[in-house]
Subunit: 364 residues, 2 copies
């Protein structure tokens, strides 16, 4: 059976690569497969954006209005298994142990449809996905989830994708997921269309021993999801200025990473975070992701920084505060963070590797 699966996979891959027109679903209708299963398991890390993604040029394809830069969060993992199976009447999604339908399943199915179209497979899939970190609180679980799903689904369907193709595929399901595909420090090149919009690694995980101490101040699901937020970005009187200024911030951020210049990184990362939240709190309707405890942590981090401690904050579309520092300072800062009122927990993360199949060795 294993041989047969590999054989089918190989044949499909061969045909797609050599005869792109071949990959049409109806050409496989006659293949008599019973109890057929093609499965693969992949893991990916969430990422923290240093220069944020907020607003799309094309909402359907998630082509962003500007580029962004992030770091994969090693230690925080989404593990996703995809099995294309005969006998299923629709795609199934088991999320953190619970059968899930609705919007989450619809997004998963939309991505699987793309993979089915690429591979020619017509089977529905069983998808099992688990995070080792809390969902929906500003740690982009959708990023790691859709990066892992993209890789697992493509692999299970026998589709060989280059990293940039995998990044594009993940992007169509969740914009920031494209950044969880390459390793380490990653830049999402905004591009102008599907083929030009994907993420690339600008430095491997080993390049810089940065630490992201994620101060969890709420475990509740956020009120407004990122997707809805992206739709509203253009209603802020500040979004145009934010986008116009983005190339400058991207240049400074990229350079600060390559130079391992913490002070330059801190300056641009805090500015960019405040700029995104400024757009969020002036959109129509206005949104607000910060909680009182978010404010506490931001103010304390700023106070520490003023006393000479190399530390800064950044906040994604949620209330938790990502506190960045170099590894030598992480122990002391983590201890201080734990003592702040409203801080429930600290997640300690370092630069993480690329999305990878479970059969492949980890690179972080």
């Amino acid at each position: 059976m294993i041989f047969f699966e590999s054989h089918v996979s190989f044949v499909i891959t061969y045909l797609i690569i050599n005869f792109p027109g071949f990959a049409k679903p109806n050409q496989f209708e006659t293949i008599p497969l019973t109890n057929f299963t093609e499965s693969a398991s992949a893991i990916a890390h969430p990422n923290i954006a240093f220069i944020k993604y907020w607003g799309n040029r094309d909402h359907a394809l998630r082509i962003p209005s500007s580029g962004s830069i992030s770091m994969n969060l090693g230690g925080l993992i989404t593990r996703t298994q995809v099995s294309f199976e005969t006998g299923l009447e629709n795609d199934l999604l088991v999320l953190n142990g619970g059968l899930t339908s609705g919007n989450a399943l619809a997004r998963v199915s939309a991505l699987l449809e793309r993979v089915r179209a690429m591979s020619g497979i017509q089977l529905f899939a069983r998808v099992q996905s688990e995070n080792n970190f809390p969902s929906g609180t500003g740690i982009a679980s959708s990023a790691s989830a859709f990066a892992a799903l993209s890789l697992a689904a493509a692999s299970a369907a026998g589709v060989q994708l280059e990293e940039r193709e995998l990044s594009r595929l993940a992007r169509t399901a969740s914009g920031s997921a494209c950044r969880s595909v390459p390793a380490g420090f990653v830049e999402w090149q905004a591009g102008k269309d599907h083929s030009s919009s994907y993420a690339v690694s600008i430095a491997p995980p080993s390049h810089w021993s940065l630490v992201d101490l994620v101060a969890i101040v709420s475990r509740e699901h956020k009120f407004t999801g990122s997707y809805e937020g992206h739709l509203l970005a253009g209603t802020s009187p500040f979004q145009a200025s934010r986008l116009k200024d983005a190339p400058k911030r991207l240049d400074i951020c990229r350079r600060s990473i390559l130079d391992r210049d913490f002070e330059a990184l801190a300056e641009v990362v805090e500015l960019d975070s405040n700029m995104m939240h400024a757009v969020i709190m002036t959109s129509s309707p206005r949104l607000q992701y910060w909680l009182p405890a978010t404010m506490s942590v931001m103010l304390e981090v700023s106070r520490w920084h003023k006393t000479g401690i190399p530390v800064c904050y950044t906040i994604d579309a949620g209330p938790n505060v990502h506190v960045l520092c170099e590894s030598e300072h992480a122990g002391e800062i983590s201890k201080q963070l734990t003592s702040l009122p409203g801080v429930l927990e600290i997640l300690n993360s370092h630069p993480g590797g690329a999305a990878r199949l479970e059969s492949n060795p980890p690179d972080d």
Copy 2:
């Protein structure tokens, strides 16, 4: 003696009005006055900006980059007495009972210099000023203080000024003080130079029974004064957009006041407040006036508003939250505010009158 004082005052006023070139200090050097005292006492209210003033076209003269709209805060009062006296070797400032020097005295003296230049008086003055509300915490005590000082000083010096002239004079000492000169709901017409930049009343205090419940969350002096903040406004990538959009917000705000349309007022007031703080937190260096308790009150007010309660927030350059509602809802909202964590005190204010001499009857 009283007759003599009045006589001198009258003569000076007459000469200034009819012979503007006469008002040169050295022309009075030979007048032999001993134990001469001209004094006056005035009161003025602070004001809360509905459309904020942040950033100057001319820092020295405090010509603002955009217009603003505010409401005087009746019940909150600065009382300022000015006495031009022989025998003083410099101006004296007694602020809330304490002899004060440094920057506060320098600003007072600069205003007195303008009045001396207008009147021809060469005497130094003793200035006593008291607030019945806490200073430096986002309630613009400098606004009421310099509005009251302008009126008291001009009156003590025997200079008759029209309201708009008094507003201009107050503006040179503290921008927002020009709005504490006219009564009730006030618009500061930005203008382009000293003569065109002053505030006018757009509706009297009796026009609308709005209430400002000021939730005091800190009594500490703010870290960065407004003057320094205004200097930084232009360094934010958002200030240009904020200014460009200002005429629209001013129109909506003015119209909502004239129509007593609370929902329209709430929408533009919260947006404008967030826009000013967005500029503040993205300037270089970044500033942050919000505290965790500021965030608590903002979030609660937004939550109440979503449940249908007509209430909104606005925050000046400090941590305290001005919670606006119509008088019929003030009792219940005040009670709710008192119960929030971090709220130390609620100041209850209604539309206040114009700056006035103590000898004149109050209009609020």
